[in-house]
Symmetry: C2
Amino acid sequence: MKQAVTYELLHECKQTGARRGIIHTPHGDIQTPVFMPVGTQATVKSLTPEELKHEVGAQIILSNTYHLYLRPGQDIVKEAGGLHKFMNWDRPILTDSGGYQVFSLGDLRTITEEGVEFKSHLDGSKHNFTPESVMKIEEDLGADIIMAFDECCPYPSTYEYTKDSMERTTRWAKRCKDAHKTIEKQSLFGIIQGGFYKDLREKSVKDLVEMDFPGYAIGGISVGEPKEEFLDILRFTAPLLPKEKPRYLMGVGTPDYLIEAAIAGIDMCDCVLPTRIARNGTAMTWNGKVVVRNATYERDWRPLDSECDCYTCRNYTRAYIRHLVKANEILGIKLLTIHNLNFLTKLMERVKIEIENDNLLTFKKEFYEKYGYIN
Amino acid sequence: MKQAVTYELLHECKQTGARRGIIHTPHGDIQTPVFMPVGTQATVKSLTPEELKHEVGAQIILSNTYHLYLRPGQDIVKEAGGLHKFMNWDRPILTDSGGYQVFSLGDLRTITEEGVEFKSHLDGSKHNFTPESVMKIEEDLGADIIMAFDECCPYPSTYEYTKDSMERTTRWAKRCKDAHKTIEKQSLFGIIQGGFYKDLREKSVKDLVEMDFPGYAIGGISVGEPKEEFLDILRFTAPLLPKEKPRYLMGVGTPDYLIEAAIAGIDMCDCVLPTRIARNGTAMTWNGKVVVRNATYERDWRPLDSECDCYTCRNYTRAYIRHLVKANEILGIKLLTIHNLNFLTKLMERVKIEIENDNLLTFKKEFYEKYGYIN
């Protein structure tokens, strides 16, 4: 059976490990490397699908199995004709497996070999996720790319805990693969775990690659560790993955991490960061962060970013956006969300060009020097 | 000196007292009768100016002197080049005088002949409004139509209180007129008060008409009284106003009240109701109210309103909008806001046609019978 999702490698950067490619999906092609905005509850907060397409330029969005399972329930989404129809979005969608959310519940969950028992953060009601039940939920949601059910270890975790967890994640990956039936409509990606231990990462890659998933994610980094450790594991793990499959780094959304991910050979990233900081009144710009809610912007009649031509920057001043943010007006959130997502779209456009020109490492140096994104 | 705002009477309905007209302003013409969406804090909550124009069809919006004075401050709006530039809206704007908001503060304000002392609802800081200071603020904000500083009596109020208040409002109207200097850029409308006492309404009209304002508002009704009392004072007062000036009924936004206002000869209405109930998950439709947050709509795959072709009704189901509302997603508020405001725009379009056809009374009966708006 033909996989719903396939990867086409267009060019490898001669300066770095970066790749220009295309991910083909049932809802259209995705030019990579790509940043995927997060629409946790079947909406990218504050934006219409038209704004996502025309003002942000989003090629694919991510939505959340844990949240949609709890509310409105995957049966309702299925009855609507799937997530695309439910939310009026006709481009590709990726659903995560809920693993990250469930494990973030801390005391509210218990892990067994079978799966995870957890209490809803909404009403405390009891639920179970197993690899099989998560596959069923993700099939009901109907995204183009669905993720295997995994455990994301907290940082730091002991070697022993990480090893047990990684091995269970591998067994769960196999169970997900066995349970997944809609291969021609949805492709199931495996998730590499193994924390900050290289031998565990190597083992995780080896076992999952043997299972022959149509794509691979790297989970369990960008979870609070120092940047050096993040880079160390990223640079070690990404090149181990098969060249002919798409590579997805989970939970990365700052400009410097996105550039590092591309350099390491990653094709897809997602993060709530650009939309979350928008709601707190912060803009990402080509000249660093602008915390527009600060008093210094009260009479600042410039756009958020003088190098940006997005809807927000064409039409609104920092002073007006600051007023909206201070007055808790929804439009402030929306204008910042459009800008931040558009900024990351443009950053990735630039990264694609630099890969094609075999110039990504040079661009990275310029970007860091000029714009001061050194975390 | 030529007034910034003038009224052109096109047609009087032969069935009712209704008028079709045009209000000419420095930012373009307004076809009347018109409903004006409210943008309290220099934004119609959740919408961009483009959505207001293209999805709602708003001809004019209202903004709020009290709120803008407190935040961001009229000096900042003035420095931006006025409210139009500050908020990126190039169609007409009306600012109310802050009278209604200040008097709504209850214990937080003290009235004297000079003006009103009040405490900010935001931080408790002390402020004064006088007719002269309000004129200065409204001139700084730069709306096309500005309102005189008045007192809106609570319902019910005694004859004596209402009489004193109305007479003070009249003296304040004179002081506003004397203080108002930007006649060619902004027109100052007087506000008729007098509560639910016809002789006081008559006196208020007489005194204000003598002052020759370029337009008149009726204030102090639609403040919680039974519909019969509302209609009684509306039908008594509106015809007393000069035919050659625009007539504005403050604080009306339900479909039945809007139709009654038009029938009584009113040209302009405003209300936060359509946007406020949108934020609570309620839609106005041609078949009555739809409280879309209710469980009954969980699997309702129809649009909010089967007779509507607005952006929301073309693209989204009740089930999806209910999900957004229940999940506290901003997009739910926006979709309901677009629909409710578009609904009132279409209702007023229809009212205009029925006036032109001398058929408004017949339409009212059909509307009430078919759609059940009997408050």
